[in-house]
């Protein structure tokens, strides 16, 4: 099962990927530009985070809104706790994180993101981490915070300051150990080892970034879904028309693969053999597929204007691609790259399959 965001109409489609069909169409979810979703552990409920601060608990089984609140003014994403009991939302306005009971959507904790520089900051890169923790970054304050909710009444926050200028997005590795924030304001990335928070944040990948000339960026790359294949990870470069290959043992750069445009999502097929890449405006009509062994582009596809997102089926035999300006979701066979089916959708953006429920950080 899965949910497709229809960003312009505040609606979603509930779909299944065995025969690739739409099951339900649900409306009334508010402003879904830049919306994202996490799932309850039983995959029944989708928590939809809207741009307008809306938090909607969607019942996938019944195709209906189970509960909906507007918890902030301007939001960017969310996460669900390891035990599935808590849902956290990261807000731009008012800058901070709010944590809710996953069942009732009642407020459990409110964490205004006021940095040591006394600036109330937009929050980005919110993820769940093992041990009832959430981790997130403060864009204007250059900080990373870990909040531990072992004691629900008294959340404990650990703050890391001066992690690097303007963290713009972050990810947690699939094993839940490393939290890595991309920096807009300087080169490199900030790495936090969650097994050893006492060691602090360290800088990795000094070559990673916009470079000396500060290349302009037409859409912020998404780091979520960092493509890991073996001991290497494939990461979207920022500003450059490249995918960066990173050695996960040394956290150094192995190589850079020239690609068609500024990458936005770099997603590994679940078996890790291929990586699919989409691009920022004005190159957003193209997808390229890289072979992770040869590190070469093996296929260039042209699905149409404004390819926004790609989601692999759980075992990766197909990939669903949202093509916003064509009002289509296109489904491709990942072995022969043939388009299998096209589903109509109104300005589709994010596609989220429910197997994400069982993955740390998604």
């Amino acid at each position: 099962m899965g949910v497709i965001i229809e960003r312009a109409t505040g609606s979603v489609q509930i779909v299944e990927h065995s025969t690739s069909s739409k099951l339900h169409h649900v409306e009334g979810l508010g402003d879904l530009s830049h919306a994202s979703i996490v799932f309850s552990r039983d995959e029944r409920y989708a928590y939809v985070f809207g741009r307008d601060g809306g938090l909607t608990k969607l019942d996938i089984l019944n195709g209906a809104v189970a509960k909906r609140i507007v918890q902030g003014g301007n939001s960017i994403g969310g996460a669900i706790s390891q035990d599935g009991d808590l849902v956290a939302v990261s807000n731009y306005e008012p800058g901070g994180v709010r944590i809710f009971d996953a069942s009732s959507l009642e407020l459990i904790a409110d964490l205004p993101a006021i940095g040591t520089n006394n600036i109330r900051s937009k929050v980005i890169g919110l993820v769940d981490a093992p041990g009832d923790r959430f981790v997130f970054s403060l864009y204007e304050a250059d900080e990373i915070w870990i909040v531990d909710l072992t004691d629900r009444e008294h959340p404990e926050t650990i703050k890391f300051t001066e992690v690097g200028r303007q963290p713009y997005d972050a990810l947690i590795t699939p094993d839940g150990r490393y939290y890595i924030a991309g920096l807009f304001g300087e080169n490199g990335m900030a790495l936090l080892d969650l097994w050893h928070p006492e060691r602090g944040v360290r800088r990795i990948l000094d070559q990673y970034g916009r470079g000396k000339e500060k290349m302009p960026v037409y859409k912020m790359p998404h780091l979520e879904g960092w493509a890991v294949a073996g001991d290497t990870a494939f990461v979207p470069a920022i500003g450059h028309h490249e995918v960066v290959v990173v050695d996960l043992r040394s956290w150094g750069q192995v190589s850079r693969i020239p690609v068609h445009g500024q990458p936005v999502f770099v997603m590994a097929r679940p078996d890790g053999r291929h990586v699919w890449v989409n691009f920022a405006f004005p190159d957003n009509d193209v997808i390229q597929v890289l072979d992770t062994e040869s590190k070469k582009i093996i296929r260039t596809l042209k699905p149409g204007k404004a390819v926004l997102h790609m989601e692999f089926t759980p075992r990766g035999e197909k990939v669903w691609v949202s093509v916003r300006d064509e009002d289509q979701v296109q489904i491709y066979d990942t072995h022969n790259f043939e388009k299998v089916t096209t589903l109509p959708a109104e300005k589709p953006s994010g596609i989220f399959f429910t197997n994400r429920a069982h993955k740390i950080g998604l």
């Binding site: 741009r51 960026v217 300005k347």
Partner: protein, 105 residues
């Protein structure tokens, strides 16, 4: 002579700037789409802000259209706002600046 050519070029580009025709109706629709969906990836699809600031007329009240045009054209240093010169032409950027001041429907 090269200098004269350069001066002539400058004059022409200035004249072009002043006389720059409004984008065609079809192009205006494309630009509006770009504004809401692509600029909207940072400024919000309703232009009420995101990683970038809100761009609604009330917020922009004290910012002249010329300033907005300059920001669109050159970008803003030390922020994620990129320069659009080379992707959009001057008339298109001025039209967008005007739309932002007036507010979209």
């Amino acid at each position: 002579m090269n200098r004269n050519l350069l001066l002539l070029g400058l004059c022409l580009s200035t004249v072009h700037g002043v006389l720059a025709a409004e984008p065609s109706v079809a192009r205006q629709a494309e630009l509006k789409h770009l504004l809401l969906h692509d600029c909207g990836s940072c400024h919000g699809m309703t232009l009420n802000g995101g990683l970038g600031p809100a761009l609604t007329p009330d917020v922009l009240e004290n910012k002249p259209a010329e300033y907005l045009f300059q920001v669109i054209s050159n970008g803003l240093p030390n922020t994620p706002m990129p320069p659009w010169e080379g992707i959009l032409d001057e008339a298109e950027m001025r039209w967008i600046a005007g739309e932002l001041k007036d507010g979209l429907d």
